[in-house]
């Protein structure tokens, strides 16, 4: 019974039930209309035939008198399925005819009998038997005799009965079919939807690895499941990324916040003004670093969201690389590195100057940070070159480099291979470069500067822009 209740709750089943009811009403209406119409036509035909008979009989009487009329009536009455022929006295007594008796009063009015009358036939054994109904036409001869020509109503009644029975059968079949459909399709669909909701309940509970069932038939349900699954996959991936980022953020912000707190506690404890001031300045520096981290994070997410894509214009890469050399050369020198650049002139792309600039600065910054102290003279080589495959900006250092199997990692947010975090930085530099390159339909490539030198492979970071369309 529960199944029925559940079935009734299913939209598909309710809709099909409603459809069947509507269809049945329409069918019934149609059937009744058809029977009524055919009955009317049949009645008209009967009247036409009787009218014809009446005028035949009247003509025979006019031409040959009683004899001719009687002969004609007798002949016609013998034919199979004959009409009713009755000759009655002026008082309504049946004188002759192929009928045993009729309802009294049938002969009183001339013309069409208004309502069907009952009559009895001669049975084969001669006894009067079953009662029948007929319509008839009465006329009076000049000698006062009354003649009735009638037709049994059995035929139209049989037709009506047949049609109605057909209707019942049809409706029965339809109802049965509907039940089968309810059980087949409705229950089947219901089961699949149940499975889907079971899966989504698990997903809602937090298990994003769940997928909706796919039947394999490629129907609407499957297509829906597939697209929902694709969506789930994307959400899972994003969620995973987000989770990792928030883990990293939590971890990377906890350390400076703790430091900040300790410095504040230290500042309170200091007695002399200069010491307190120094401690407070340390706090400010620490806070600034935190703000930088947040800024960088926001920047990356905005670049990744593509909201800066609107601000694209022609960017002179040669000029930006020259700027970056100009800006960082003294810094590199101060850190004991040499910065050399090989810049192809007049190279440009469609892009965002600020972001490209910042990306290059980040790469040089990294190169300075991790390239210092190379034995054979720390050196950063920069190169801007336009090639067949695209425009390449390389920043190569000869520091320790990044092992090939960890290169994917270093572009992730907050990932720093230097576990001790001894170098300053947010751990977001390469993430920003990668996001910027993605925004410009390019990529960031990391490779060894000198693969043969195991001690100092060096890292070459290359920003690759797609070749501009000619």
């Amino acid at each position: 019974m529960t199944t029925f209740r559940v079935l009734y709750k299913s939209t598909a089943v309710r809709l099909s039930a409603l459809y069947i009811v509507l269809f049945a009403i329409c069918a019934a209406f149609l059937v009744f209309y058809v029977t009524a119409l055919s009955e009317r036509i049949l009645g008209q035909q009967t009247r036409d035939t009787l009218q014809q008979e009446v005028s035949d009989i009247q003509r025979a009487y006019g031409r040959g008198g009683m004899n001719a009329m009687l002969r004609m009536m007798e002949r016609r009455a013998r034919q199979p399925g004959a009409n009713l022929y009755i000759i009655a006295s002026p008082t309504g007594e049946i004188l002759t005819g192929n009928v045993a008796s009729v309802e009294p009063g049938v002969f009183e009015t001339e013309g069409w009998t208004l309502i069907p009358f009952r009559y009895e036939r001669y049975s084969e054994s001669g006894a009067t038997t079953d009662k029948h109904q007929a319509n008839g036409h009465v006329f009076v001869l000049d000698n006062g005799l009354r003649i009735l020509v009638g037709r049994d109503l059995g035929e139209p009644q049989k037709l009506r009965f047949l049609v109605r029975r057909a209707l019942m059968v049809a409706l029965g079949v339809m109802g049965l079919g509907a039940l089968v459909i309810w059980f087949g399709i409705g229950r089947n669909a219901l089961k699949r939807i149940d499975r889907m909701s079971a899966a989504s309940t698990k997903i809602m509970a937090g298990d994003l690895s769940q997928r909706l069932p796919v039947g394999g038939s490629g129907d609407e349900f499957d297509r829906m499941s597939e697209s929902l699954n694709a969506m789930l996959g994307r959400i899972e991936k994003l969620n995973e990324g987000l989770r990792q980022v928030s883990d990293n953020i939590a971890h990377d912000l906890k350390t400076p916040l703790t430091r900040l707190r300790n410095k504040a506690a230290d500042a309170i404890g200091r007695k002399n003004e200069d010491g307190r001031r120094a401690a407070l300045e340390g706090i400010i520096a620490e806070s600034d670093q935190l703000i930088r981290t947040f800024d960088a994070l926001l920047m990356i997410s905005r670049v990744e969201a593509g909201s800066v894509a609107a601000e694209m214009s022609f960017v002179d890469l040669s000029a930006i690389v020259a700027d970056s050399v100009d800006l960082y050369e003294p810094v590199a020198e101060e850190a004991g590195l040499s910065l050399v650049a090989d810049i192809q002139p007049d190279v440009g792309v469609q892009g965002n100057r600020e972001l490209i600039g910042q990306a290059i600065f980040n790469l040089i910054d990294n190169a300075i940070k991790y390239g210092v102290g190379a034995e054979a003279g720390a050196r950063i080589r920069m190169r801007l070159v336009k090639e067949e495959g695209g425009i390449r900006i390389c920043v190569a250092d000869n520091g320790p480099g990044v092992p090939a199997d960890r290169r994917d990692e270093v572009t992730k947010r907050f990932v720093r291979l230097d576990e001790s975090r001894s170098k300053p930085g947010t751990g977001l530099g390469l993430s920003l470069v990668e996001a910027v390159m993605e925004l410009h339909s390019g990529r960031l490539e990391l490779s060894d500067t000198d693969p043969d030198n195991a001690a100092a492979r060096g890292l070459t970071a290359t920003m690759v822009f797609p070749a501009p369309e000619q």
Partner: protein
Amino acid sequence: MNHVDQTAGGADSGCSPSMRDGMVASMKILLIEDDLEAAAYLTKAFREAGIVVDHASDGESGLFMGTENSYDVMIIDRMLPRRDGLSVISELRRKGVHTPVLILSALGQVDDRVTGLRAGGDDYLPKPYAFSELLARVEVLGRRKGTPEQDMVYRVANLELDRLSHEVRRGGKEILLQPREFRLLEYLMRNAGQVVTRTMLLENVWDYHFDPQTNVIDVHVSRLRSKIEKDFDQPLLKTVRGAGYMIKDEG
């Protein structure tokens, strides 16, 4: 987010040149900011730096105050109730008010800067910012000190910079500078007596608009300093701790 900026750098008003030198700067600014907590903080910090602040908490009243009163600088938040910041600026400009405007924005993106400046803003500071940064920019916008833009020769004590011949002399002795060093000194001297932050230097000398996260600017400034102060006892180019740099005649 709005609160982060309040801790950023702290109210570094002790470093403000006007306070330290006991000068009474009668600068008056209009602050249009709907975050009341931030506005109260800024008002207090500016007051400590000797700047009078009028505050409006929505776009309409800010526009009214900006039109009716005269200010040296206006600080306008981009997102304001009743009338957004950019529309306030364009309306002010349409009414002939040419007071320098600094736009504060939580959006902090390159294109936001461009649209902000296009709408008639003169400077742009994304949140979160350090108060010292805001103060330095407001003072430069207010132009109470420094050298008039149209001067062809900037002078601070015995240091002279000729913008036409690109010559720099100190005590009559020529100092040779790289083109970039020249522009750095030019910007510092134009804003002589005012704090100039590292971000402002990166913006005005190199034309990149972000926070230089490392000591790049410091290295450039220290090189410049060594060139202009090598043979002289009187230091001119000073580091303002927690804020930036300032070129000033101490004598």
